[in-house]
Amino acid sequence: MEHIRTTKVEQVKLLDRFSTSNKSLTGTLYLTATHLLFIESSQRETWILHHHIAAVEKLPLTTSGCPLVIQCKNFRIVHFVVPRERDCHDIYNSLLQLSRTAQYDELYAFSYNPKQNSSEQVKGWQLIDLAEEYKRMGVPNANWQLSDANRDYKICETYPKELYVPRTASKPIIVGSSKFRSKGRFPVLSYYHKDKEAAICRCSQPLSGFSARCLEDEHMLQAISKANPSNRFMYVMDTRPKLNAMANRAAGKGYENEDNYSNIRFQFVGIENIHVMRSSLQKLLEVSGTKGLSVNDFLSGLENSGWLRHIKAVLDAAVFLVKAIAVESASVLVHCSDGWDRTSQVCSLGALLLDSYYRTIKGFMVLIEKDWISFGHKFSDRCCQLDGDPKEISPVFTQFLESVWNLTEQFPQGFEYNEAFLLQIHEHVHSCQFGNFLGNCQKEREELKFKEKTYSLWPFLLQEQKKYQNPLYNPDFSPELTLLEPNTVSFNFKFWRNMYHQFDRSMHPRQSVLDLIMNMSEQNKQMEKDIKELEAKIKRKNSQSDAVLVKEPLQSAPPAPMALKTSPCFKKEQPLMPVNDSVRTIEGSNTADNRYSEFMEEFSKAEPAVVSLEYGMARMTC
């Protein structure tokens, strides 16, 4: 609160990001402890969470006021014009302070109160149970067991407590192997494929340098390959480009030497590191945020950013992993440098392609809890939850969501969740409103008692899961394929407009098929329910009339249709139709109307010299 000097500024203008005209909305700007709120004169509200703010910029003073540009982590960009420079400066300074948090307990999650009592809070946290998940996969079993080696986070701080390892891997092997691995992240089970008896394991890079060996680590890998009765060979996937891995050797790290490990096949897959990804996204946003962009500039910008190339690389790696398991029944060990970024991407996407459970709403939550949260993807650093090293920020998780989105585009019936679900998760990874994504690893979360002080996101998403359901989902849309085989030809990857332009409404289709279908299936369900109710009523009526009019069974029929007309179902029918209609009207055509009206005025004022067309909206300038 001490950062807020001005809480309310009137007559603030909100500019459209892509319009070159000076058309704007006027309203009042409020600054609260958690949000920046803009209320238009038409009472439409725009809420911006302080934690979502990635950058605030004050542009040079103009005649109409002082421009303030706010970039958000959910790719919203707002452009305000504050009439007085003093106010602008105050807000600017406050936002700078408020958007940078030094300690976890200042985050929104610690003040957010969703009116749940403590037992609900605990229940919420228990919704996703990873022990249950491993049981579902089929471990522990004859070959795999739960290890308590990391009970007190002694062997590896960034791993969870419960780890599954091959039965033949004794504690000394585990300890020895962990010492030979960067950050102590030794090979453990990530996903077990019941039918193929093959496993996806994950770890970090070995500390091999140019020649170092570790017998325990070699035993560990052997134990993993022996735990797979169907194929003694195992793949070791290094998800880094070969050059990067070789460079790491000079620093005493590196990659497995095939000669030292028996029965392994080593493979690089070439996903770039977090720094490349960060600057790639930066370039992408620069291009997509350009005003009056031409198609060629867009495409060359898209190419130069390399973003889609990176997404393809991630999916290609996952496809490689899936082929090893599904075709060769071979276990795969995945690692990168520290084994918490690219490794998480590849392991989770691989599991998603292999197991249809992860394509359900609940399953996707489990997948994120398992491969991202529990295995220590550094959400806090990567999403810059606390004011920290900007070099640690990287859109690794965003890439994962985008890869999943690309899959949902290829398999429209294969996923229980829709795009809105992915966007909502992305929103909350950055919002710091719930405890799930706070912190960098389980140990930290336990120490800071997040489970007691904050709430879990998942019950809230489940509560409103209707919004996130894919109406076309068909769990057995392809019974022979619980396995998804995506086509990763370049042209299949598209720019994710709904992610990067989520808040630029003029860019989206004006009518949404998904919304319509969702409404329809909703209505269908409602009607089926009504029909059942009616049938029950008719039965009751019939049984009554049967009792009364035993001799005239035929005449007992007409009263039923009479009852139909007055039944509650048809009172509901009235509002149903308008709902249907409203979905079908053109969203955004009103704004277009508004924007066009201004040109008429200009037209009548002076003869235009040019009529230029931008974004489907023509514009006249004098």
């Binding site: 031409s294 198609v295 867009f298 030809v489 289709p509 329809m520 179902c569 974004y615 023509a618």
Partner: protein, 651 residues
């Protein structure tokens, strides 16, 4: 010319057909005057062979051949064989995923077999040794240097002469609908004969020789469909709504303008004599005529060709009068020139030009350059080339997508159409659209603008009417523009995919307004296919005059008659359609414009999952409809028939 002269080998046994992700099929290949047929061998029980391929030869865009196992003969490395290796046919085509339903039947319900048999009988089954004539012209690139044909015995019907037994050849057929097929033919000579026959038959250029003149389906009447959208009636309706316009018969015998239809609608105040004079001042006689009357505010969109101002800045009083009377006192209008200001200026050197401000003081000129002609065709070729190369890295793919510039053309076309629509609807000003000849980009803009403005054009019938009015009758030279598609090695003449660009823009509109078009993607694909190669006469010729001379309406079937049969029509409807009376303003941001995968990747990637999802949407919507209907007393179907009635009225 006899077709028989062009067919050197009419049947070949044991030909292996592969392509487009289908399992290869072996069967007997037959070449008829208009079709390529492949029927697989009958089963052991003597069952008749199933026809696996029924390809209209007009659909073949390029024939490439390779001969193998020649022993005494080393095939020279030619352009065409290099091209083959570059395209790598051994490349896996992701075939496992392709639906079996997409079996290649070029025309499954078309020509009844009886008729085909008749045709076959007409042709001497062996061959006719005619002069190679035209067949030689496209210079078979991999043909033998010396032994081109004469080794074959004149009356020898056997598949291959013994000397060459064991040799075989592969023919790659690249079709105008972008499909690629491969035929493996035993016998080198047979292969070369088949290739040159197909090449010769596919380059027959005479309209009267086209398949529509021979096609006689049993369940269609010849005259059906030709008078569905009478132009006079459409114009008469406008003329009765406003006293300022009249239907003119000045072009009844195509005297004023050979590329206009007999019926045109012009300002009431201008007499036919003035029209004739104005026509002489416009390239190709295309004087300004009404294209669209915007009912909402009474403004109109006109189209014409460029004025022949020439280097001496000629003027034409009648032309000025014609345009002048369109505007009321004090009104201003816009001329949208689809060339750049510089190109318009340069056109003066060759006798063309544009309307000078001094002579047309109330018309404001806007230049919106749109690509056409050769650059557009090359853009199409480059795009198809890039799409066919599935081995491209992401960077190469994006850079080739960029360098082909196709999406830029889509954006430019949509933007210009929006501009025209905006002038009419928002500025309440009249618009004249023209480029140079007024038969290409002009029509692209006027047709798209109508689709954006007029809900009537967004129905299936309305859209057919729009095509008939603004493309076919308005004189888009389909025969010239669609003579060759993206694969042809032939030297480009006047080919340009303007109609495809239009269909792509319509597809973009459909993507952005998925409930506002009554027809779906499938109609657009069918229109593309038929514009390039068709069994129907609708897209034949370059203009009405040619069609009249060839008696197209009397001797061929109309595509619309076929499309509008109830069971056929169902396939083209958009289940999500609900009439939307508003103007549909699309977004033309590059982020909103997408590559039309359904067309450009139709034969390349599997669309099984997308098709299934679409079928599911259809099922959901239909379920919804029936349940709503049942309970709401057919309210919906009523409203549907209302819209139908409305469109009926609008026509």
């Amino acid at each position: 010319m006899e077709f028989a002269e062009l067919i050197k080998t009419a049947t070949v046994e044991s030909v292996l057909l592969s392509g487009a992700g289908l399992p290869p099929v072996r069967g007997t290949l037959c070449i008829t005057s208009h079709h390529l047929l492949l029927s697989s061998r009958p089963g052991g029980d003597g069952a008749p062979g199933t026809v696996e391929l029924w390809l209209l030869i007009r659909n073949v865009d390029a024939v490439e051949k390779r001969v193998q196992n020649l022993g005494w003969y080393q095939p020279p490395r030619t352009n065409s064989s290099q091209r083959d290796t570059r395209f790598g046919f051994s490349r896996p085509l992701d075939s496992a995923n392709l639906p079996g339903s997409a079996r290649l039947r070029a025309n499954p319900r078309g020509s009844p077999l009886t008729q085909q048999k008749r045709e076959l009988q007409l042709l001497p089954l062996g061959h006719a040794r005619g002069p190679r004539g035209r067949a030689c012209r496209p210079a078979p690139r991999a043909s033998l240097p010396c032994a081109s044909a004469p080794t074959r015995g004149a009356a020898d019907p056997s598949p291959a002469s013994p000397r060459l037994a064991g040799s075989s050849g592969t023919i790659t057929l690249r079709c105008k609908d972008l499909k690629v097929l491969q035929l493996e033919i035993p016998g080198m000579e047979e292969c070369l004969n088949v290739a040159s026959s197909i090449e010769a038959l596919s380059s027959v250029d005479s309209v009267m020789m086209m398949y529509p003149f021979f096609y006689r389906p049993q369940d269609l009447r010849l005259e059906a469909g030709w008078h569905l959208f009478p132009l006079e009636q459409y114009y008469q309706q406008i003329a009765t709504q406003t006293s300022q316009w009249r239907l003119s018969g000045v072009n009844r015998d195509f005297a004023a303008c050979p590329t206009y239809p007999p019926a045109v609608i012009v300002p009431a105040a201008v007499d036919d004599e003035a029209l004739r004079k104005a026509a002489r001042f416009r390239q190709g006689g295309r004087f300004p005529v009404l294209s669209y009357y915007h009912q909402k505010n009474g403004t109109v969109m006109l189209r014409s060709s460029q004025p022949l101002t020439g280097p001496n800045r000629k003027r034409c009083r009648e032309d000025e009068l014609l345009l002048g009377t369109v505007l009321d006192e004090g009104e201003r209008g816009f001329i949208i020139d689809t060339r750049s200001a510089q190109a318009a200026k340069q056109a003066r050197m060759t006798g063309g030009g544009t309307e000078p401000k001094s002579s047309y003081p109330r018309w404001k000129r806007l230049h919106r350059p749109l690509e056409r002609g050769r650059p557009l065709q090359e853009s199409f070729i480059k795009l198809v080339d890039a799409c066919n190369d599935t081995s491209l890295t992401m960077d190469r793919w994006l850079s080739r997508l960029e360098s082909c510039r196709w999406l830029s053309h889509v954006k430019a076309a949509l933007s210009t159409a929006c501009l025209a629509a905006q002038c009419l609807d928002r500025e309440e000003a009249c618009v004249l659209v023209h480029g140079a000849e007024g038969t290409d980009t002009t029509l692209l803009v006027t047709a798209l603008a109508q689709l954006i403005l007029d809900p009537g054009c967004r129905t299936l019938a309305g859209f057919q009417g729009l095509l008939e009015r603004e493309w076919i009758e308005a004189g888009h030279p389909f025969h010239l523009r669609c003579a060759r598609s993206a694969y042809s090695h032939a030297r480009l003449k006047q080919e340009a995919p303007l109609f495809l660009l239009f269909l792509d823009c319509v597809w973009q509109l459909g993507r952005q307004f998925p409930f506002s078009l009554e027809f779906g993607e499938r109609l657009l694909l069918t229109l593309f296919d038929n514009a390039y190669a068709s069994s129907y006469g609708t897209f034949l010729g370059n203009n009405e005059k040619e069609r009249c001379l060839c008696k197209v309406k009397e001797s061929t079937h109309s595509l619309w008659a076929w499309l509008n049969q109830p069971e056929e029509k169902r396939k083209y409807l958009n289940p999500l359609y609900s009439r939307n009376a508003l103007v549909i303003w699309p977004s033309v941001e590059p982020q909103s414009i997408q590559l039309w995968q359904g067309l450009f990747f139709r034969w390349i990637r599997s669309s099984k999952y997308l098709d299934e999802a679409w079928a599911e949407i259809q099922r959901l919507v239909e379920n919804d409809d029936t349940s709503v209907e049942e309970s709401a007393g057919n309210r919906r179907s009523q409203s549907l028939s209302d819209t139908a009635a409305q469109t009926e009225n609008e026509r």
